[in-house]
Symmetry: C2
Subunit: 457 residues, 2 copies
Amino acid sequence: MKPAIPKGTRDFAPYEMVKRNFIINTITNTYRHYGYRQIETPAMENLSTLEGKYGEEGDKLLFRILNSGLKPEDLKKSDSINAITEKGLRYDLTVPFARYVVMHQNEITFPFKRYQVQPVWRADRPQKGRYREFIQCDADVIGSNSLLNEVEMVMMIKDVFQKLGLGVTIKINNRKVLAGICEAIGVPDKMMNITIAIDKLDKTGWHKVKEELLSKGISPSAILKLEPILQFQSDSISALSFLKNQLSASETGLKGIHEIQSVFDSLSAVNFHFQTIQFDHTLARGLNYYTGAIFEVKVNHPGSNFSGSLLGGGRYDDLTGIFGLPHVSGVGISFGIDRIYDVMDELKLFESINLQASSTQVLFVNFGEEEVKYILPVLQQLRAASINAELYPDAVKLKKQISYADSNKIPFVVIAGTNEITNNQLTIKLMDQGKQETISSGKLIERLKTENIVKQK
Amino acid sequence: MKPAIPKGTRDFAPYEMVKRNFIINTITNTYRHYGYRQIETPAMENLSTLEGKYGEEGDKLLFRILNSGLKPEDLKKSDSINAITEKGLRYDLTVPFARYVVMHQNEITFPFKRYQVQPVWRADRPQKGRYREFIQCDADVIGSNSLLNEVEMVMMIKDVFQKLGLGVTIKINNRKVLAGICEAIGVPDKMMNITIAIDKLDKTGWHKVKEELLSKGISPSAILKLEPILQFQSDSISALSFLKNQLSASETGLKGIHEIQSVFDSLSAVNFHFQTIQFDHTLARGLNYYTGAIFEVKVNHPGSNFSGSLLGGGRYDDLTGIFGLPHVSGVGISFGIDRIYDVMDELKLFESINLQASSTQVLFVNFGEEEVKYILPVLQQLRAASINAELYPDAVKLKKQISYADSNKIPFVVIAGTNEITNNQLTIKLMDQGKQETISSGKLIERLKTENIVKQK
């Protein structure tokens, strides 16, 4: 048999893991710096927890687990899919988090700042950049209405992309501004339709959005009023004052403007670079549970024309209500690891980052039993000094061992033959420079550290 | 609805995650120090990859994923479970690894040293310490026959438990020794039955093992010869020479003894503590693919009488053959995270480890807008210095904020009211000592570092 993996799923090779871990660790370190605490939930949830939370389309995309111990004849007797499946794989981290908060509400001290990094599964049609299994990397605060949470979310986003070395624009809007716009154009009850349509403005342009709005029964006169509002493009400060004007009759709209203004004010207090953040009143985000701030991140880096979004998030007023704990407000963000990886890879950003510390740094050549006995204690010293080092396990030809170092991108090869042993020395080969030098065996760590420091800066 | 999670699965709270991560990071750091490289494989594998690899019992324990898009009427038409399920959740990391090696054989430079830390799923009957979803933490070398791999496995095991602060005994045996014993007692063809029976010696005692052997058709005369061999207990050196004697007529048996001897010799070269390792010729390990060395780890720590095994492993001569790549020898180990966690928790070993660096270290009290503006820049300095710090998001009563710090075990609370702001100071409250002091605001990081250093040593 020829082995294969299910479509839409992936294996990750060591060189990919090192880069993925770099992204994930950068995000989780930042989450921890801001006081977020990690939780994990099971991959399998009861279908009663998952169903009905992602719309009709989402329900179809749930992977269902067959109940254990079923026999073929049980299938004939089953009248529904639910009769043979009670569990499913989680579809995102937000619903399991809401379930977690409700189940553990008596152990949790609110506000609860949690982060979670786990895979999710969706039976989507696989396509470029879209997978059936992928990692989500979420942070949420639940149980606090303070806008400082939004402020800190923006600061975390900035910190992460700064550490990744990737230029981005953080877009921020507020669902209350969108509600205000709907009021201002005279269709306060059509907010959901308008949000979903506006969400596509980026990809399809105004013409298509207009068509969709018409098809959803929005009157031509409302659309006529909407157009100049959506077409208005400017820096954040001007946009805020333009919208303040437009929405002067909408209490909700003004509240939204005020919330954004307040986030900007707090960011000033920490000298936040306002090139990084942009108030964009056309930002809509399709998902329907957001009620306040919404966030999105776009690449803004020389050489990239990637237009997708690297992060999404926002505030929701009542996520846990469906599980029996109403009126708990929360705000959260979710980084798109796969997209960040692809963009960074395309821009060759990983090349300027020292990922060596998480790969093997030194290979010791194996010439046979005697040489190995000389090497083993040195090897242990390196490991005790947290230097990743290995000994080629078999005493094969030198050429093969060097080629192993080469394929695995191991930068230093240490050779100890009869000469070296007699003089208590080691020969060290610097793979990328193609040169080698012989040093006293006690000086190895010192010598490697010099090299590493050179590489790290 | 009252939310719940599927039986045999678990949520992990922040305080549990910190401890679990400490164990997992200790293991993976050690793996990397020894030159192992991480891979990941999908949670879902094709059932054709999984089925038939874990025996009949194992096949029953596979979680199967229902094919997408099935309708109730499709069930009636289905004659087998396989007709409606093509994928399953991985049952261990070894079979997916074998599949990975075969699929990627042209990209891999052998010997391939890989580690992998991912959850696995088994539809086992849930019971204390046995879960339906749990994390495995494996390292394997594939494509090398050298016994140095076994040596390094033992060294890694020692390093890990030393860093965890948990006293253990590493037991080592060799399947060839077991084969030699079967030859010596005259039943060379009964190796599998004898291995499976001996595996229970620990738990059930010799009497029950004898019963099982009789029931499997082992002759009383063979059992009579087996008894003194199994009953022989001694230090490793004496046991090796006793067995060498007993197995003098068995070429395979002597080869096994020689292999163990060679591992012990190499360990001497690095001054390995021989209290930690024990040659135990009654160690059998039920799983049937091992062909050389076998490993197991038992707790050997004052105050614990836990008798289960914390790690298992061994050498297998042909794991990838079933996927079309024969004659590739490998050796691997797998740490039991959940058991290690339970033992360490019971022994209160986590208390002497500084886990604070991965939790929040400082809470800033929130007295309102003005105070927050004073605090935000200080907060950012702490985070830039990799100190995990948070600001209580709402300006609620001080008592509530202090109690938040208390519940979340945040050791330092920083307070800045009108007085502090006027004098450019901060008041720092040391939660565990119940005392507080006022310092210049520029001295905070310095002050915290002193405290941390005191705690770390």
